[in-house]
Symmetry: C3
């Protein structure tokens, strides 16, 4: 593809030879002759002068850096979004199956939308409704009375249990489990008896659920992941949790039962949130934090037990100075005794 | 269903109109006209006066709260157990398949019990024995010489490897892996060589294993999960671990190799237990704890490294006051020097 | 099998009756008459005098302990490696299928090596190349343009996505997901937009990936797990990570995006490593550690934030003595005030 065509496609201003041929997209560290790359984060600045890329996509207002016209640049408002467009042109997504695989098991009462693509060894239960342009990769299990709206993709080996409701343009990545029973038992005479979990799971539009993550269903009522929220891999979301719109939950986070979380919450990897906790809008929770009480909107917390970031970071940095502090206190005690 | 019938079914004492029609079960926060709900935990008290539910199931000895006969109440010994019965009546469990799906692969030497239900794309290996009334959902893999006793349910996409023994009325939830090789290698000249893991995994009756949890097999000998123990999602149980009866292991817990755990142990989410550690009966381990040495029976520990709860909680609360303590010590030092 | 034959097979020196019959292999704690066992770790010494095993495999230079010629011993250079050989003789690995199951879905353009074993309900995509002696268990999904080299085993319910490259003699355990999209979005006006992840995952020879672990692919460039590295269960490896040769990553570890890790690194369970961090060769990271900055080669770190082991262990042990320290400081303050 010629640089001129690329500049047109991503709506950017080309500075360089429009006839240069681009064969692939690469990161700025790895890019060689023939590659186009991009620089959106200040951390990539150091590579700009040494890259062998034929072209770099940069931000409109970035400082010029080319020497003797090499590499070429294309200036755009948002380099990330520009590369997003370009990636799909260079690497089109492959379909698991053109239509409905004859090796899939589709229950008689299930309803299929238009232009669905359903792979081999997919099981779809009774009364389940699949929307238009849905892609379901091989080896997926979808139970009874599930609804999956238009444009949603379900990757291989996913399990979606009965009555789950999934919105438009959702992505459920490989091996994820949606709608498993919550971890609630009645305890009597030292034994634990299973409670049937008959509630539902609702996944709204543009949500993404990472590989091998699990969203549990409750006894009654719904576990809800709202519009645009993105969840990474190996995350545990317990029963009755509600996560509001456009939140970011990083890998291996655990969210216990009945937590209510606001909009635009960001949670770092391996953090845990105790049951029934309420997290406000725009809260940020540091990686590996243990959240043991409610967090008000707009606050950043870290550590265990989670506390406001500045306080927590200071405390943990002083933790490493405890050996010194104990010595200082012993020294003082000697002095005090001597003074007496 | 009429309230009178429901009261009879759950063996409770109705206070209200026996002819009221109930259409569904809801939580006390969400319950509307036509719903029956229940209140078993003190935390739900605040909802009792404002709920729109048509009926609330309460404990025998709870204080009356209805006004003008609304909502109706049914008094029972254990509201949770009562709702348990009711849920299965309102929401009967659906079967993946009436009998044995023609799309399943059942090895010739496998033996099937009576009234088994085996879904599509299930693989069952040689010499494997499946008991009566076992339900195996689609896309499950069961290896060779596995034994699964009566009444056990295996949910979709589960993997059960060779020679695993599973008792009666067990539940293995979606995507769980039972019997994978333990993580043991011989180390020689900087390389790690795989050791064949030829031991077994034994899962006793009434155990439940959560979605995407994994129980490893050992080189020789058995990994054992004893009667009635319940394990949540994304839990890692290493090789040669023994967990005694009626324990509770919450989500994302990691139990390292050869740990021996007593009865009625409770472990909070994301806690980790080091290898070869011995945990006594009735021990409770707080969420995110790191257990680095044996814990005697009856003790509650938390934090990292895990210590008795009171001590650990106090230490961690003082951690956040370290900045203040460092200031105080500096202040004293100034005074001491001045005194000299 | 007779002891004489066993001694010959493992190249060891038998001290005892060569005609004794051995029926199985057991751990030294559990071994009974008829069993052969082994003692490689000093921790097993205490069992040597009381074991009922018919024979113990011990290290060449271990102190004699038999009384009246019981139990027999076989002396070898490395007891672990000796048992490794023996286990495969006593417990041969079973194959999921003799050849290619007629119930597998093999795309027309896929190429199969010699003596492959491919189970039922396996999906293999277009242009994928499978080497000689590869074993693929049932219910595995393998996408398009994947390469799997000779002697590799893929266990049930694994997902391997497009263009992944897997070397010789690799083991991918049950339910693992290789090549899922990394967790990277463009953020604009409070919304998060998916970026196509078109990079690859390269798994080199003799690597093992544990059950339910996941290795993500990057936007461009490769995520690489180098030769001989072993990864345990439920581990998260993010996009663009490079892990060098012969490293050991224990269960539930999380490695964030673009981390570069050296050779012979060892990471304990549940540790987390922040994005873009560089870990040197021969580094050891303690269980549950939180690594927040680069770690130089040869160092052992633990705790949160991770610090050199001695310092960190001391600090955490003093953490539990904080209540005492606060009292001591208050006491001093009283004295200081009294002195004034």
């Amino acid at each position: 593809m010629k640089l001129g065509e690329i500049a047109k496609l991503i709506g950017g201003k080309l500075n360089g030879d429009a006839d240069i041929l681009i064969s692939h997209i690469a990161s700025i560290e790895d890019a060689k002759e023939g590659a186009i790359t991009w620089a959106s984060h200040p951390r990539y600045k150091k590579w700009l002068n040494s890259t062998s890329a034929s072209c770099v996509i940069v931000s409109e207002n970035s400082i010029p850096f080319t020497k003797n016209g090499r590499p070429a640049t294309i200036r755009v408002e948002n380099p990330d979004l520009a590369v997003y467009k370009l990636l799909r042109v260079f690497y089109p997504e492959s379909l698991p199956c053109k239509e409905i695989s004859p090796q899939a098991h589709i229950s008689e009462s299930a309803k299929m939308g238009k232009e669905v693509s359903i792979g081999a060894f997919v099981f779809i239960g009774e009364q389940t409704v699949i929307g238009d342009n849905v892609i379901i990769y091989p080896n997926v299990y979808i139970g009874n009375e599930v609804k999956i709206d238009n444009g949603t993709h379900i990757y291989p080996n996913v399990t979606i249990l009965d009555k789950t409701i999934i919105g438009r343009n959702v992505r459920i990545y490989s091996g994820a489990v949606i709608g498993t029973d919550g971890f609630a038992y009645t305890h009597s005479k030292g034994k634990h008896t299973h409670i049937p979990h008959c509630g539902g799971v609702i996944i709204e539009e543009y949500v993404e659920i990472g590989a091998l993550s699990t969203i549990a269903r409750s006894v009654v009522g719904n576990t809800i992941i709202k519009k645009g929220t993105k969840i990474d891999n190996l995350v545990h979301i317990a029963h009755n949790v509600v996560i509001d719109e456009h939140s970011i939950i990083t890998a291996q986070v655990g969210v216990a039962g009945s937590v209510k979380m606001g909009k635009n919450v960001v949670i770092g990897g391996q953090a845990g949130i105790g049951d029934h906790i309420v997290i406000g809008d725009n809260v940020t929770i540091g990686g590996q934090s243990g959240v043991t009480k409610d967090v008000k909107q707009g606050i950043t917390v870290c550590g265990y037990p989670a506390a406001p970031r500045r306080q927590s970071n200071l405390a943990y940095s002083l933790l490493m100075k405890l050996p010194e502090l104990f010595k200082r206190v012993s020294e003082i005690e000697k002095n005090c005794f001597n003074n007496k």
